[in-house]
């Protein structure tokens, strides 16, 4: 759920949470809980495990909100960073592959593929999980054109034909979907290599994200 008009932004929310405001914490969960949980379910392949890691991530926010630096990144990026570390720790503890989906992915790879590196595979799977969750948040009609374009590899004209829909409608839906996704992708450092509010920049992860390692 994104920020609604009249609601405090994430920076204000985090300040209130640091002061012990339960209402602000509740709002932060309502705003970002689905993103964190959805990404974890996709990554871990287990709703129960995802719920436990999501709880850990939000409890970290509750206990350590004062350590969040809004200048260094977004709140969803911070929560996802915590969730990622907890989820990978959990996988290490259980000595499991990143997810059932990853096992299938491995089957599609060649032996010399760098993604056979488990850590790299986990990173890629985590990034994919977040991106898929962002796509899942789109309105259904926009999600549909995104799937046809990127999953099925169809051109705008082919999508128009497939859906029996004017090409202008397909383009406007695609344009809106891409704009939404780009805004969301910026919130998570490293998801799109070097993508920031200001375009492409190559910079190390900001301090709050490294701190959670």
């Amino acid at each position: 759920m994104s920020e609604r008009e009249g609601e405090p932004d994430d920076r204000v929310l985090v300040r209130r949470i640091a002061a012990g405001d339960e209402g602000a914490f509740e709002l932060a969960y309502d705003r970002h809980g689905s993103l964190v949980f959805g990404s974890l379910v996709r990554f871990l392949g287990d709703r129960e495990a995802a719920a436990e890691v999501a709880q850990d991530a939000f409890m970290s926010l509750w206990r350590r909100a004062s350590s969040f630096d809004p200048a260094a990144g977004s709140l969803p990026g911070w929560l996802l960073s915590i969730a990622r570390h907890r989820a990978i720790d959990r996988l290490r503890g259980e000595a499991r592959r990143p997810s059932p989906g990853s096992a299938e992915l491995l089957d599609d790879l060649h032996d010399d593929d760098p993604w056979r590196n488990p850590a790299a595979l986990a990173d890629r799977n985590w990034a994919d999980s977040i991106v898929r969750t962002f796509v899942s948040e789109l309105p259904e009609h926009e999600r549909h054109v995104m799937v046809l374009a990127y999953s099925d590899g169809l051109s705008q004209a082919a999508i128009s034909e497939r859906l029996d829909m004017p090409i202008g409608t397909v383009k406007s839906r695609t344009r809106r979907a891409l704009a939404r996704l780009r805004t969301r992708l910026i919130e998570v450092p490293g998801l799109v290599e070097g993508l920031t509010d200001f375009g492409m920049e190559t910079a190390p992860a900001p301090a709050p994200y490294r701190m959670m390692d």
Partner: protein, 273 residues
């Protein structure tokens, strides 16, 4: 091609991932003009690179090499129990950290003579409450964890309320050998029983709590365990009809789990109230 025109053209090309790539290699005059502008304009170069990055990211996440297969991008929503659990955990977390030591300690100093065992056991419960959250293992059910922590938080909250009342009372629980085995504490609204003298009951057995007066036993509850501390907490409002007359005894007995309303098992702890 001017900057505004180039920006608009990039936005159009961004709709079609292949068009962005093709533009750079295209021989058409429009594309060559755009490529020429981009090569000399950092802003447009950054914009073009950004869209290429977005396309690569989306293609990587949504494309699967399996013919006919699609990545599932349907929404995955947490259920309401997760929300309730997280909010309850946050509330419990606050009651654990700063509140308990600061509320219990001053009273402990003021009336340490008789309260020492209660405070020690209450401290054990505080540790248990915190441990329920902090040490819950991977196999621990989130909902069970939340339920346990909530129950323990209620016990600690009852201890706090009792300690806050000047007219609170306390009685020492004794084992059948006459040794001190814990405490029964109560005030106007709460009664809390804390003991570390009980071992975990065997399968099919439970520790039941009774009030005994004038030869009549009234069952009031069953002991719960938090680590090595057993507890029972009740509100006086729930059994206000029971009179705590002088001579009333509080009894803990080991009973069959499916036992009747009568006390049949052996007494393991008792206190004169």
């Amino acid at each position: 091609m001017d900057h505004a025109e180039a920006h608009e053209r990039i936005a159009d090309l961004a709709l079609e991932p292949r068009d962005l790539e093709a533009m750079l290699a295209s021989e058409s005059s429009d594309d060559r003009a755009l490529a020429e502008h981009v090569s000399g304009c950092d802003t447009c170069r950054a914009e073009l690179d950004a869209w290429q990055g977005v396309h690569r990211t989306l293609a990587g996440a949504l494309h699967t090499p399996r013919p006919g297969a699609r990545v599932d991008v349907n929404p995955i929503e947490p259920d309401e129990r997760l929300r309730a659990g997280i909010l309850a955990a946050a509330r419990a977390d606050r009651s654990i950290e700063p509140a308990i030591p600061t509320r219990i300690s001053p009273v402990a100093i003021a009336s340490s003579r008789i309260w020492t065992p209660v405070l020690g056991l209450a401290a054990a419960l505080v540790v248990a409450v915190a441990g329920t959250f902090l040490l819950a293992g991977p196999g621990q059910s989130l909902l069970r964890t939340v339920d346990e922590a909530r129950a323990l938080s209620n016990v600690v909250a009852s201890v706090n309320r009792i300690l806050a009342e000047p007219n609170h009372e306390v009685a020492t629980l004794k084992t059948t050998a006459g040794q001190s085995g814990g405490s029964v504490a109560w005030a106007s609204h709460d009664l809390v029983v804390l003991t570390s003298a009980l071992s975990t009951p065997g399968q099919g057995q439970t520790y039941r709590c009774w009030l005994s007066s004038g030869g009549t036993d009234t069952a009031i509850g069953r002991m719960e365990f938090a680590g090595t501390t057993a507890y029972w907490v009740g509100s006086l409002d729930e059994w206000a009809s029971i009179s705590l007359d002088p001579g009333t005894q509080f009894i803990v007995s080991l009973e069959p789990t499916d036992g009747s309303g009568a006390r049949t098992g052996s007494v393991v702890l008792e206190a004169d109230l």
